[in-house]
Structure formats: structure tokens, C-alpha cells
Symmetry: C2
Subunit: 213 residues, 2 copies
């Protein structure tokens, strides 16, 4: 079997393996760049609206999705706050009650949902006919979490069927946590940071004290 | 040249290439896991001290470093707030003035420094003889940044020479941003999150308003 032909077969196996490794590496590097971009957006002193818009744009691009929607809580309602591609008429206007539709279910249950086809048939789905996404095949819907609390939901939609990978679901979970933290960070005026002791905050923290300052 | 021997040479090239790709993929996946862990730590309602300790532990492990030290600002002083491996006697006690030593220089200049050998000879280094790290060969020192402000410094030390990769420096920059955001997040009581409108915060944000709330 130690012939040129046998070698040619093995070469082929190696080439396929290398191509697959290259593809996975590229995808991992895209994911790292996404995390780094979000982190940079968080630590800069930018407008919150610009920041969340930049994040949904990045997520849509990474997911090769048809759209990415961010809903945030306003008391017991979820309000559409950012959209990629942008849809200014819908932002601030589309509202769901907690528990209403798939998005409301995700917020109430604090659980991710991923449907790869016929998402519009899911019993939790509610057709508003307000958004074209209500007729799409695939959706992944992830809670936005801050300090253990659900404060919103991020949805990624594919017009056609899309089998979400474990990596994608993990990434979106992290994005949900990052947006949650961002919503807290944005409430603090940068100048207020000069007046506090960051060391004292850490050194004096215990399970009671850390949340009281 | 189309002989079994020529093929064997090519096989070898492919195997080396695959091994290198596997190594890079593994490193990228480690980096993703690190980001995900830090994000999870941020979004949970944990003690700040436990959280920063967990982060320096993760960084030390990822960097295969001999130690990772986190200093945070207390007015114009940098105070050692976490250490991996743990050194309880030094935490809260070791203090540097802004501009003092390499760490103080990084905080004042808001610039990363990476020295791969003989770090103790750097003119900015100041020997305190308090910490064994002052005699180590390699250091990378990165500002901890919150909303564009330096609030601390994170140092990674190697006892022997260590050529820091671009990936490592980018990762540490991101970790610095994440810790900065965490310090703000930890100031907000989780219960306070129930009383505010996250949607209104985003929808009403403009360059003036976003920092005032």
C-alpha cells in the first residue's frame, strides 16, 4: 500500500483536516474580536444608544444573521431598543409584555431559546405582524442579565433555516451578560469615578457589603 | 518527483501545519473561555473580592505566568487588591504612588508596558523588595480602564524570560477593560435594577444625557 496513490489519498485527508482547522480557527478569532470590540465599547465613554447599536451590528455580522434585535425592560414591558439592520420606526415603539411571545417567555424564564426552523409555529410565538422577523424560520433568543437579574432579551433571526452551534449559543449568552453589565456601567458618570476609592470597594467587600455601596 | 518519498515529505509539511493550527485553535478557545468566565463573573451577584480573585487566577493560568497582581486606585495611590497565587499578607498593604515604579508609570500614562527580560533593570522599575516579583525577568503591565478613566493596573509576571505575543497583550487589554467595568457594576445593588427603566436609559441617551443618569 506504500504507493503514490495511497499517499495521494492521505494527502487529501490531511488537506480536509487542515481546511477544517483553519475554518474553526477563523471562527474562534472572529469570536475573540467580537468580545474585544464589545469590551472596548463598554470601557469607553460613549453614548449608550450608539454602543448598543454597535453591539447588535457586530452580533448580526458574526452570526451571518438577517437581523439582531435588542429589547430592554421598562417595568413589566420589553421595549425594542436597538435593531440591526436599523429600523428607526420600530425602535421605542414595539413593546411586549413579560411572558408575551417567545421574547417575553425568555425574559420571564431567564432561559435561552433556539429554534432552527419554523420558529413562527412555536406555540410561544405570537405574531404581531409588526416585524418581518415574525415570519422567519430561525431564531435564537437570549436573556440580557445584570447582577443576576433579567433586564432584557437579545434576538438573532435567520430568514432561512439555521442550525445554531453550541459556540454561537455560548457567545450570545456572553453578549447578553455584557450588555447587562453595560447598562449598569452607563449609569455612572465618568467624573464620579475620580471621587471614589476602587481599592476600598474591593478590600472591604463581603457578601453583604459589596452590594450596599 | 511524483514518488513515495516526495509524498512523505509533503505529508510531513501537512502534519506540521495541522499541529500548528491545532495549537492556535486551542489557544483561541482558551481565550474565549477566559472571556466567557469573566463575563459570567461580572453578571452574577457575587462578592467583588471573590470576583477579582477569580479573574487574576484565570489570567495567571491562561498566561502560564508565575503571578498576576491587581492594583486599584485609592485617590492617588495604587493598592494591591488581588494576587494569584494568593498572598494575603500583601493585599491591602502594598501601596504605590501614581507614577511610582513601572506600575505607577502605566497608570499615569494609561499605556501598556511589556518587558520580556530583565524587567528589574528597567529605569521605571523601583525595587521595593516587598514582592518577589520585583526580581522577575518578564512583566506585562496593563491599565484597568472604566469609562475612559484609569482605575488600576493589572500585572502579569514571569520568573523567566517570556516573549509576550500580540494575542496575549490584546487579551490583557480586554481584561483591564472588563475589570474596570466590573468595578462600576459592583457598585449597583441588584435590587436597584428592578426600579429603573433600562429601555428609557437607552432610548433617551445622547452624548450629554447618557452620563448624567
Amino acid at each position: 500500500m506504500c504507493t503514490a496513490r495511497a499517499h495521494a489519498l492521505w494527502d487529501n485527508v490531511d488537506v480536509v483536516k487542515s481546511k477544517e482547522l483553519e475554518r474553526r480557527l477563523e471562527r474562534a478569532q472572529e469570536q475573540i474580536r467580537l468580545f474585544q470590540s464589545i469590551s472596548r465599547l463598554m470601557s469607553r465613554d460613549e453614548t449608550l444608544q450608539d454602543t448598543v447599536q454597535a453591539i447588535v451590528d457586530l452580533v448580526q455580522e458574526y452570526m451571518h444573521a438577517d437581523s439582531c434585535l435588542l429589547y430592554l425592560l421598562d417595568r413589566d414591558e420589553l421595549v425594542l431598543c436597538a435593531c440591526s439592520p436599523p429600523r428607526p420606526g420600530a425602535v421605542g415603539r414595539v413593546r411586549l409584555r413579560l411572558g408575551e411571545g417567545l421574547t417575553g417567555w425568555v425574559a420571564r424564564q431567564k432561559r435561552l431559546v433556539a429554534i432552527s426552523r419554523e420558529a413562527y409555529r412555536d406555540p410561544r410565538a405570537k405574531l404581531f405582524h409588526e416585524l418581518p422577523e415574525d415570519t422567519y424560520e430561525a431564531i435564537v433568543s437570549v436573556p440580557v442579565v445584570a447582577r443576576g437579574r433579567v433586564v432584557g432579551v437579545i434576538n438573532v433571526h435567520h430568514r432561512e433555516q439555521h442550525a445554531h452551534t453550541g459556540e454561537e449559543l455560548e457567545l450570545l449568552t456572553t453578549v447578553g451578560e455584557q450588555i447587562g453589565s453595560l447598562l449598569i456601567v452607563a449609569r455612572m458618570a465618568p467624573s464620579a469615578l475620580d471621587e471614589v476609592s476602587h481599592a476600598a470597594l474591593v478590600l472591604s467587600s463581603d457578601s453583604e457589603a459589596s452590594t450596599a455601596r
